[in-house]
Symmetry: C2
Subunit: 337 residues, 2 copies
Amino acid sequence: MLDDRKLAVLRAIVEDYVSTNEPVGSKTLVDRHNLGVSSATIRNDMAVLEEQGYIAQPHTSAGRVPTDKGYRLFVDRLSTIKPLSVAERRAIETFLSGAYDLDDVVGRTVRLLAQLTRQVAVVQYPSLTRSSVRHVELVPVAEGRLLLVLITNTGRVEQRVIETSGTVSEESIGHLRALLNTCLDGLGLGDVPTAVADLPEKVVQADRPLAAAVLSVLLETLVEKHEEKIVFAGAANLAAVDFSPSLREVLVALEEQVILMRLLGETGDSSTVTVRIGTENPDLGLRSTSVVAADYGVGDLTLARLGVLGPTRMDYPSTMGAVRAVARYVGQILAGS
Amino acid sequence: MLDDRKLAVLRAIVEDYVSTNEPVGSKTLVDRHNLGVSSATIRNDMAVLEEQGYIAQPHTSAGRVPTDKGYRLFVDRLSTIKPLSVAERRAIETFLSGAYDLDDVVGRTVRLLAQLTRQVAVVQYPSLTRSSVRHVELVPVAEGRLLLVLITNTGRVEQRVIETSGTVSEESIGHLRALLNTCLDGLGLGDVPTAVADLPEKVVQADRPLAAAVLSVLLETLVEKHEEKIVFAGAANLAAVDFSPSLREVLVALEEQVILMRLLGETGDSSTVTVRIGTENPDLGLRSTSVVAADYGVGDLTLARLGVLGPTRMDYPSTMGAVRAVARYVGQILAGS
DNA sequence: CTTGGCACTCGGGAGCAATGAGTGCCAGCA
DNA sequence: TGCTGGCACTCATTGCTCCCGAGTGCCAAG
């Protein structure tokens, strides 16, 4: 259907258009790439490519521009992920290794990725559901108020206030704390609900209301935090590209956690970079953007995803390289802390 | 210098320009507001106002537009803060009272403020320096690693990893934890450094390295977190106004913590709303924006600031009303949790 | 299948006139 | 002294035409 030269033409169109941001015509194409044929031949090829829906012209008498379908073919078959330079890798490593807690790791990662790709970066916090309990802490913070702190093996710390009906003794708290920790230590968060089901029965009669209160808040925390936290950075990079009309829509989408979550999407083939182009996106208003995303995690364990959002007209090979590299390094950093 | 009518004219110009976003001329002015004089008279007044620098015309044969100086006069002497409607107040209250921890309070606040004013909202986390220690927790998370968790009376939780040279026994940790808590409980964070200076001397010889490590991390935390955390929301609202060229600069500024901090500025008269207009701003690139900010806190204690950033051409009375109201409610919520 | 040639299309920019909102100024009037 | 109506003037904006050139599609020949 499409012979080698037509594919080469498509590739050239994508590359030229990405770098110049101007519709590319048959003449400029033969000038810039040495395709060994005349512009008339290219024109014929382009007519075919257009008929098949890989490219389009904004208006008659203008050059061609890749369509989403064209980008898709380019990503799937015409390009390879471009590895980062040694200098870049080193920069990533030193920058990330300076982080001192989970918030900081995520914060640095998202800024790094934004800067590296000059686009909007999105990073999801490590999943709670896949991590396990490292420690549970109960701290009295005021009359009738306890603070429940849950620490996971991924370094995440969750906190919730518990209202207790009356004053609670230090011993009761200490007892409950010990009980919780022996029950839960090392347990996957998904298994917590069943493990603590019979907790109230294990404490003395007087402390049962307390135990029940703590328990309900603990379970709530697990459920609510299930919808993961997600952050972005580099919105300023959007202004550089001129999205003119849809810029507002894109900004709105970015501020909506739920949309961001869907944006990164479910894990495709793990250990690979996923690309979603233009209308392949689940969200309206992001129809003119592409998302390049990847899983990150420690060893075989996938913790969450991160990625980049930019115009469909983006440098896919480089972006994919940056996303892949950052995902790997974050994994390493998390493993080592 | 400026008689009452000239002030009335200035007020009318500001109000008209804010609502229509078009330079306002003498004719439209007498039509819309009943000033009781003819347009020629208004023209004379406008000439004076322009000479004094309160208004300017984008080009000859165009209407007048307020200058920063004009807005300043308007805010200081020609307008009063517009209180929110009962419905709005109720909405704020119910929305904020649904929050369940500090992150959530701040997150809801910033989104609320952005939506209420249709501009960019900025909220600073409650200051660490002005709060006091509620509890210190030490948790072993791995071989050679401890997690230090610091809980303050404002509900803020700080965490840091401590690298210990060797394995540390549970007892050592327990001892140190108890020691820290008796030393620090209720202490203002500013007083922590002196209070813990002699800590290593209070533990048995073998635990001194541990104590020193914990100590240094604790002090680091206090210093580093001194530069407070700050968040924003509503960037999408920027796209609605057409900042055309400077939009990028504004977005850049928003992502820079340091700039944001400076933006809210030092507390002016507390319990009042502060307005900074256009070039009064410390930052270049925000020359065409205004900031409306206020302190918030519990009772007499000021914890931090929050505010709104928008075009100089904004509805100051309403914005000030919204900022003031939200600041008050956040204070109430924090007091009650 | 490729190529040079050629007519055709159409967006974008330059040039130009008409429009009209808005101004500054002035002389007259209370 | 301050207000007013009148009037000439300015100038951004709009709509119009015209022209240019990049780029195409098609065709006949190699």
